[in-house]
Symmetry: C2
Subunit: 396 residues, 2 copies
């Protein structure tokens, strides 16, 4: 969606300009996440929620009711495998893992390799290679294999395409245009049907229940289109709930952390970065809210809100509220220097990545690992039947 | 394509008005089938070719060279399973079977159940039911299982969707509009990519070779779009050749034999019609080129070109040229009456249907029969690899 007054654009395919998150809510028609809702999340409430990086929602109460009552509920959080993964990509997955540990949520993780082929200039070979690499990072997160399903669109086409066929008949080209702008090709045009298959898949496999989609606010159009399909009540599914997040800042301090910006001014932190690289990137590139000299900083203090290192701690890497408050206070009063704050963020990020990389190295072959997270034949069959492919199995 | 002067419309989704077949060739940019080309078909040349019901072509020489030299060649002829099959649907399949017997052609038969869901108001359940019924008719034709593959889009989505993903990135919405007119929904928008997967499938499974698509001239846009994709030379495939047919007349004598016209004035002949029904339909409804009384007919004669019974014999049901010539001559000079001509056509059609129905009744269960015509896992894998899904297998 493009806003003419404030000149920012937020769609699943473009994020640019200075984003007015409040205005975006009005435009999208989503609700602000309330204190009451935050309090309903299981303890300890994840910093992303508690500190309102997830700042907006759709129908989140329905999901929370099921989760807190021990009724069936699920989370869908996906990945578009177009390149190497960076911090901003993995954070939502660790969030989903936390929720799964707390509430026993089913977690479905679709990889939209098809979409990435439609909207980038990468070849299918390159996207396949990235898919394999990204899958290893996903597996390193450590979801519960008994309650987690990983789906790769072209590899699981036997279930994804039949579902997308059912939903594709319910979305017009003009709906596409209103939600996403211009289509790049007919594959791209079809993709909202595939996305709807992703978001409704847990219900189609296991029966009607609340599903939560924690997602960058730029991806909200996918949720809206899917909710419209679900609202038609042809398939006995709930409309998916959504938790919408602001963007993790890029190191240069604004917009969305991008995997394609490997420009020299603002490199991103990749999941494969070693300790030294993390320190180097943060110390050299992380936008600082401090003053330009130590003396000036001691005298006037810094601004944590503008400081990327502080934001990293705030959103994900420093869970302890007291500690975070002290950091903010000392930064504001000038007793904590920019370099010191950067050091704290770099240490936290590097330790996190250390652990992630260690788990990644310990994985068995991708094939062996993935087998534990696959939809069973029975689950595939259930999903297809639920949208009306009643004679499917018998045809094989 | 809509022609404003002569007011006829021919697209894969609409055929209306008095069709000027010559004008259509200019508009579509296809060639007229020449005497030389007809002479290159294996003997005995099928009446549909010899008598120019197939009246136009694209690159048919390339196909004929491979077929006559004993090199690999294939035929793709499909079915949109939206309702019960009638004579006009089965005739191209018997034509393909003949060619297979004569030249050992591979025959690939895709069922576009997805497309039928996108462009009709039938439910997936209804289309699934029709698919099963239509498949029994297809199996009754008696193709060679070793050289024939049957594909149902949603049931074979594991191979069809990955191929369609590759091709979907190469077709824009404006190409869709130019070829087909308005899209009904995003599934419909995507369908040309699926159709391209159908037409290129034999080459993707077995390697580059000439493929012939014998098809109603209204379906030519699918071939054009697919030829444009093939021409980009990303996948080492030949552009498919095409053999384009005029329409078998409806019983009322013009336009396209339609499965949906079960109006009382012009019923169609269904594959399930018994002998009595065939006679009744032809005697009551077949448009006659004869005169309104016997005396007048004896005196002035009839017009075989306008006579639906004669056209049935001409296009498919009377192979013997001498006999057909005699029928035309005697009809023109009035010695053969309309009722007698109708009786000849009805006898031929009823005998043909008798044999078809007998073979259909003798089939084993659909599941058992279809197993002999399925793509093997290895063949599916070949096809996916050829478009670039190189890591596909390894991901499962």
């Amino acid at each position: 969606m493009t806003d003419n007054d404030s000149e920012f654009t937020v769609t699943p395919y473009t994020v640019s300009g200075e984003i007015d998150y409040e205005k975006l809510l009005e435009q999208f028609g989503a609700g602000r996440l309330t204190d009451e809702q935050i309090a309903r999340f299981p303890e300890p409430v994840h910093p992303l929620v508690r500190r309102r990086v997830f700042y907006a929602e759709r129908d989140v109460d329905r999901f929370l009711s099921a989760a807190t009552a021990g009724e069936r509920h699920s989370i869908v959080t996906g990945r578009g495998p177009s390149g190497a993964m960076h911090l901003g990509h993995i954070v939502p997955l660790y969030f989903a893992k936390r929720l799964q540990q707390q509430t026993n949520a089913l977690v479905y993780i679709p990889f939209s390799d098809d979409e990435k082929y439609f909207v980038t200039d990468r070849s299918l070979e390159e996207i396949g290679e990235q898919t394999r690499e990204n899958l290893r990072d996903l597996l390193a997160v450590g979801f519960d294999p008994d309650r987690t399903r990983i789906i790769v669109d072209t590899a699981d086409a036997d279930v994804i395409y039949p579902l997308a066929v059912a939903f594709g008949a319910e979305v017009t080209e003009s709906t596409f245009k209103a939600a996403y702008g211009e289509s790049q090709n007919i594959g791209h045009s079809f993709y909202p049907a595939v996305q709807a298959a992703h978001l409704l898949l847990p219900q189609l496999v296991t029966g009607r229940h609340p599903t939560l989609v924690p997602i960058g606010v730029d991806q909200d159009p996918h949720v809206r289109v899917c909710r419209d399909i679900a609202a038609k009540q042809r398939y006995d599914v709930d409309k998916p709930s959504a938790l919408l997040s602001k963007f993790l800042p890029s190191l240069e301090g604004s917009g969305k952390m991008s995997s394609s910006s490997d420009s020299e001014t603002a490199p991103t932190i990749h999941l494969s970065d070693d300790r030294e690289t993390v320190f180097e990137k943060i110390h050299t590139h992380a936008y600082s809210g401090g003053q330009s000299t130590v003396d000036e900083h001691r005298a006037r203090g810094g601004d944590p809100e503008a400081d990327v290192s502080y934001q990293l701690l705030h959103s994900f890497f420093e869970e302890d509220d007291d500690r975070l408050d002290r950091i903010a206070r000392e930064y504001r009063n000038g007793s904590l220097l920019s370099g010191e704050l950067k050091g704290m963020a770099a240490t936290a990020v590097a330790s996190f990545l250390d652990a992630h990389q260690r788990r990644r190295r310990r994985l068995n072959s991708l094939e062996t690992e993935l087998r534990r997270y696959q939809l069973t034949e029975r689950e595939r069959e259930h999903a297809r039947r639920r949208v009306g492919h009643s004679t499917f199995k018998a045809m094989i």
